[in-house]
């Protein structure tokens, strides 16, 4: 059911609002919940990184089960077009700040399946990616190094501005939506209202809108709840 979203743009004008930002960013870098969306073969490299030899919990990273509870979306392995739809739906359900890590070469440039008509070559075109960990598969040491790099990026975000790629999705939504529509057709829509979210965070720019968002508006149908039937 399409609800009218009343957006209350809350600018934090309270003088004490940004006192704890550094502390919160420090805590965010120390505790990350990952959702390993095991897209392809690379998922086999995550159990070694979680078990006793290369323990991931001492970095503060725990596996969580649903996208609502997770901070990191791990895309391990090749992303076929069918999976890409579901990955985008999952990504939009996660809460900000959220990070995407592309493990394995198939997310970088197509990898082993570069000649295939049914896999996506460059994950960066469909959603903003923070860290790529190349390899086929990368060793657990490489996975840990990549995660440590992500933690450093988050911690030093104020100086280096490398830790907030999630904002890019809202700032350049038209570009990402254009690539998604090129793959999935013009009537592609998701249940999440990205433009309203962009307005809420104050991350709207003129690149958020464009001809692709106009197409989305034209084709957007209200999503009805699914009928529950017992045969």
């Amino acid at each position: 059911m399409k609800k009218e979203l009343k957006i209350k743009q809350k600018e934090r004008t309270n003088p004490l609002a940004h006192v704890f930002d550094d502390f919160i960013r420090f805590c965010q870098s120390k505790s990350l919940f990952m959702l390993h969306y095991c897209t392809g073969c690379g998922a086999i490299e995550l159990p070694p990184a979680m078990t006793s030899r290369f323990d991931m919990e001492r970095l503060g990273i725990q596996p969580m089960v649903t996208p609502r509870q997770a901070d990191i979306l791990l895309i391990t392995g090749y992303v076929s077009i069918k999976t890409l739809k579901r990955v985008i739906l999952t990504y939009e359900q996660m809460q900000s700040p959220k990070y995407v890590i592309g493990i394995c070469s198939c997310t970088v440039n197509g990898g082993m399946y570069w000649q295939s008509y049914a896999t996506a070559k460059k994950l960066n075109e469909y959603m903003p990616v923070d860290v790529y960990i190349a390899g086929c598969m990368p060793r657990p040491e490489a996975v840990m190094a990549g995660l440590q790099r992500l933690k450093d990026n988050i911690r030093n975000d104020k100086k280096e501005h490398k830790g907030s790629a999630w904002k890019d999705y809202f700032k350049r939504y038209d570009y990402y939506l254009g690539n998604q529509q090129a793959l999935f057709g013009e009537d592609w829509q998701t249940p999440t209202d990205i433009i309203a979210e962009a307005k809420l965070y104050g991350l709207e720019t003129e690149e958020t809108y464009g001809k692709h968002t106009k197409l989305l508006e034209k084709h957007q149908t209200p999503l009805l709840p699914q009928e529950m039937r017992i045969k």
Binding site: I24, C27, R58, G60, Q69
Partner: protein, 295 residues
């Protein structure tokens, strides 16, 4: 005591519970890590988790009842802390005894049920129905244990029980079978394997917590700290003699919480029917035999 003293106690008792509870959560994770031959998380990890969850920019709420449900869940435990006497602070423990405490300990599950019902996710509904069934399962032995202890000490006030044990022997020496039944009920109350059916991470996507995120999940993490603290201190007060100062009370509480954790990570989980069956058979039998000796 005057009103100011009471106000100070009402703030400090939950605060101490939160801090000690966080250390208990860390101990739980460290024990599980060591059993699996890993190094666990660093010392302040529970604090980082809670601050990160509250610091999320997006908070997804499913309505007013969802918010109220979480507030009830955490509030029930804060109410329970105030009724739980610790050395130096009694709160309102003199006014309500162990029976009021048992009622307060049921409020969080009901609050979570309200909140999760509003989420309208079928995984959550399955999870919370299992959680309430499990609560029914462990509450019977729990009430038996509490009743037996109250009868033995001839009072329902926790302060009176602690004083009695300081003078005579510890409760565990006088009622050993009841103490063992209490350990069963404790394992069910903390929701640890093999009675972990209501969380079931891979099966039903963590059950009740499936749509909780951000500050709601942070609230549930806070609730977990209170839960461990309350369970530990209550058991220590009933059977292990309480303590005259924090230095004697806290090691007992930590020991009580460490015991279920150590055996929990070696078990798989039982189905809901098996949980009810086992919790209504053995601890109830032990409790009734022990009551026969006491009465």
């Amino acid at each position: 005591m005057n009103a100011l003293h009471l106000m100070a106690e009402l703030i400090f008792m939950p605060l101490i519970a939160f801090i000690v509870g966080m250390m208990m959560v860390l101990m739980m994770r460290k024990i599980s890590a060591r059993l699996q031959r890993r190094i666990g998380p660093p010392f302040f990890q529970p604090l980082y988790d809670i601050v990160k969850l509250y610091g999320k920019d997006t908070q997804i709420s499913h309505g007013l009842i969802h918010d109220i449900g979480i507030i009830m869940a955490v509030g029930g435990y804060i109410g329970a802390e105030i009724l739980l006497p610790v050395p130096g602070m009694e709160g309102i423990a003199a006014k309500g005894g162990v029976i009021t405490l048992s009622y307060f300990l049921m409020i969080p599950s009901l609050g979570m049920a309200l909140g999760v019902g509003q989420c309208a996710n079928p995984n959550g509904s399955i999870g919370i129905s299992r959680a309430l069934t499990a609560m029914l399962a462990y509450d019977i032995p729990f009430i038996l244990v509490v009743f037996g202890a109250a009868w033995h000490y001839q009072s329902t006030s926790l302060i009176g029980m602690i004083e009695y044990q300081q003078v005579h022997q510890w409760g565990i020496v006088e009622m050993p079978l009841l103490a063992i039944a209490g350990l069963f009920a404790l394992q069910g109350m903390l929701g640890k394997q093999p009675f972990e059916i209501y969380i079931a991470p891979a099966e039903i996507a963590t059950g009740p917590m499936v749509e909780m995120s951000g500050k709601y999940m942070g609230g549930l993490f806070v609730m977990q700290t209170f839960q461990l603290y309350t369970a530990g201190v209550l058991y220590a007060s009933l059977f292990l003699g309480g303590g005259t100062s924090f230095l004697t009370l806290l090691p007992k509480a930590f020991l009580v919480v460490a015991l279920p954790m150590s055996i929990a990570f070696m078990f798989p989980r039982y189905k809901t029917e098996d949980v009810i069956r086992i919790l209504w058979k053995w601890p109830v039998m032990l409790g009734l035999i022990s009551l026969a000796f006491i009465l």
